[in-house]
Amino acid sequence: DQQVKQNSPSLSVQEGRISILNCDYTNSMFDYFLWYKKYPAEGPTFLISISSIKDKNEDGRFTVFLNKSAKHLSLHIVPSQPGDSAVYFCAASATRAGGTSYGKLTFGQGTILTVHP
């Protein structure tokens, strides 16, 4: 049973436009959410995170939105660049179990983003 779902396996966007990647979760204990980016033959790298006490977090071109009532989060990339082409993973953790839970992540299936020049 997939507790974190990314229902779009792939997304294609023109350079300069906005990329929106979506993620849904079912476990109401999740209170910390992250996005990771992965290039081929490399490990995932951290992109941005958000705690459940917030509904938005920005870092440069990247913004994560959290809708707790809908159990939905999204990653916006504006403007999109060809170098953003990668697999994006959404992940969640239940930190109320204690500080040691931050790294015990539940991942989504990933979305392949392709940004065309």
Partner: protein, 113 residues
């Protein structure tokens, strides 16, 4: 460059054989993790260790064992490999007492035939 080193980068293994995937970090992180990545399933946690000397089971621990004799090393052992363990394995570390994100190694691609 500080980070996580995994070895080997890839391996083809006959079913029934024993295999240890190595992981070393030089960031002095107290927590370490092993994840496997499979198409359509994302990454799933196999085992973790909050500090040296302690380990715990993740979501998919069966068929795998780990040890944490010191802060830097966290090997993953497949005692008797099966084809369903064909996957890409990622080791990760973090400072588990804060919300610092996981740092991942570049993975080991394992094929069990």
């Amino acid at each position: 460059i500080a980070g996580i080193t995994q070895a080997p980068t890839s391996q083809i293994l006959a079913a029934g054989r024993r295999m240890t995937l190595r992981c070393t970090q030089d960031m002095r992180h107290n927590a370490m993790y092993w994840y496997r990545q499979d198409l359509g399933l994302g990454l799933r946690l196999i085992h973790y260790s909050n500090t040296a000397g302690t380990t715990g089971k993740g979501e998919v621990p069966d068929g795998y064992s780990v040890s944490r004799a010191n802060t830097d090393d966290f090997p993953l052992t497949l005692a008797s490999a099966v084809p369903s363990q064909t996957s890409v394995y990622f080791c990760a570390s973090s400072d588990s007492w804060t919300s610092s994100p996981l740092h991942f190694g570049n993975g080991t691609r394992l094929t069990v035939t």
